[in-house]
């Protein structure tokens, strides 16, 4: 079973040379820490920076330089700042190659819910609806089950949707899963996790074909 850093580490392997990547809040933010040093990648944050660097050293933080999670950040050489309309031109125009975001629920058909629990919690969608409606390559990073032990990989989402038919891949603490027209296809198991455990934690149709390898990190 993976912890949050483990999930981020596994997702980092999906980041290819030359990719522009948008990282959501939470586990996705951790992915930046694990990307291979020998490939060229740039991180975009939808509040208006391309070429985002690590958090600043103490005393070097700048109130005018934050990411979409409102965290203080730095800018790398080659970075640029821009307004919100241009930022979403990058996203909507499919210039961003990979979007990694968290979710409350994902359905077999690629639907995703991550912005609202009616009557209980309404933080808003931020840029998530634009990202999932536009990106060709969306990876969801999340725990396989919620705090009450219920599966987050469902036949149909129960919460209000963020986007439809959009998620391509899911990396959880238990598994790597591809969203196919037939349903959730199990690609890899987390270290020490059995196919049976994954199936038990997955409400949606889980497709298991052949021998499922344990993931390497």
């Amino acid at each position: 079973m993976l912890d949050k850093n483990g999930i981020a580490k596994r997702i980092a392997k999906e980041v290819k040379n030359g990719y522009y990547v948008n990282l959501g809040i939470g586990i996705p933010t951790l992915v930046a820490n694990f990307v291979r040093e020998d490939i060229e990648v740039e991180f975009q944050s939808e509040n208006g920076i391309l070429g985002m660097g690590p958090f600043p050293y103490e005393g070097e933080e700048d109130a005018d330089l934050i990411n979409a999670g409102k965290q203080t950040i730095t800018a790398l050489d080659g970075a640029s700042y821009f307004d919100s309309a241009m930022s979403f031109s990058m996203i909507r125009g499919q210039h961003v190659d990979l979007t990694i975001l968290g979710a409350m629920e994902v359905a077999e058909n690629g639907d995703i819910a991550n912005w609202k629990i009616p009557g209980r919690l309404v933080k808003g969608m931020g840029g998530a609806m634009d990202l999932v409606a536009s990106a060709e390559n969306i990876i969801v990073a999340m725990m396989h089950t919620n705090k009450r032990g219920e599966s987050k990989l469902l036949k149909r989402c129960k919460l209000p949707l963020t986007g439809v038919n959009c998620v391509k891949k899911i990396v959880t603490n238990l598994a790597v899963i591809e969203v196919t027209p037939q349903g959730f296809k199990l690609l890899e198991r987390a270290p020490g996790v059995s196919v049976e455990e994954i199936a038990a934690a997955t409400e949606g149709e889980l497709i298991v074909q052949g021998n499922i390898p344990e993931m390497t990190l």
């Binding site: 933080e61 934050i66 203080t72 309404v122 931020g126 038919n165």
Partner: protein, 233 residues
């Protein structure tokens, strides 16, 4: 050169009345028009419709207007980290319309640029698209979203001149440029009002034509919401 400079925030906000619709720049607390917000609190106008990406925090930004119940409706993309906001929303005191962030930006830009509406893929198939026209182009579905109509736009820039030209700094740029010229009257406050002719015309982010009033802001707090640091090596 057409002079847009006004002496102080009071002159800049002349004509703002209860019941108006306001556009306010900023992302979180980054790049918000602090002086204009403080003056809105002082003016005690209410029943406002505020269009802004976020709603501030409990004791800063638009949170200051929420505390005094001056806001009737918020149109935002993300409203977390604000207990008073959540309380007013769940109790029904505050009307809230949540819309995708890119849609928010582009509805501002549409108003600025004279477009009545835009087709965006964001929100298709979700409750955001309920009651809205949808349409297919090249096999992909889009939602028709309309330009905002607002009375005042309040933006904050880093540098500006009396001609109304603006330069923003870092990620404090965000929605501010898109809101310039998107309301009947755009008011810009700047950290540094510089002499006309001292800004390089090639580096101006927003030309003065989009601005009706500009003033030298004061006492910027520029609060940081999430001070995240890398340990020194």
């Amino acid at each position: 050169m057409i002079n847009k400079q006004v002496e102080h925030v009071q002159a800049a906000l002349e004509g703002v009345k209860s019941g108006m619709t306001l556009l306010l720049g900023g992302f979180g607390l980054c790049g918000i028009p602090e002086n204009a917000i403080a003056e809105l609190v002082a003016m005690n106008v209410n029943n406002l419709t505020c269009i802004s990406n976020n709603a501030g925090v409990d004791d800063f930004g638009l949170g200051l207007l929420l505390q005094k119940h001056q806001i009737k409706k918020m149109i935002s993309s993300y409203v977390g980290e604000n207990d008073e906001f959540e309380r007013q929303m769940l109790s029904g005191e505050l009307d809230v319309e949540l819309i995708p962030q890119g849609t928010l930006a582009e509805r501002c830009r549409a108003a600025q640029a004279g477009f009545p509406a835009i087709y965006t893929p964001a929100g298709f198939g979700t409750e955001v698209a309920e009651g809205k026209e949808t349409r297919e182009f090249d096999g992909k579905m889009y939602v028709l979203e309309h330009a905002f109509k607002a009375d005042f736009s309040f933006v904050k820039a880093w540098k500006g001149d009396a001609a109304g030209n603006l330069i923003f700094k870092g990620t404090a740029r965000n929605f501010n440029p898109n809101m310039c010229g998107a309301a009947k009257i755009t008011v810009a406050e700047v950290e540094e009002l510089v002499p006309v002719g001292s800004l390089d015309p090639n580096q101006i982010h927003i030309p003065g034509i989009f601005i009706q009033r500009i003033f030298q802001g004061k006492n910027y707090e520029k609060r940081i919401e999430q001070r995240t640091l890398t340990p020194k090596p």
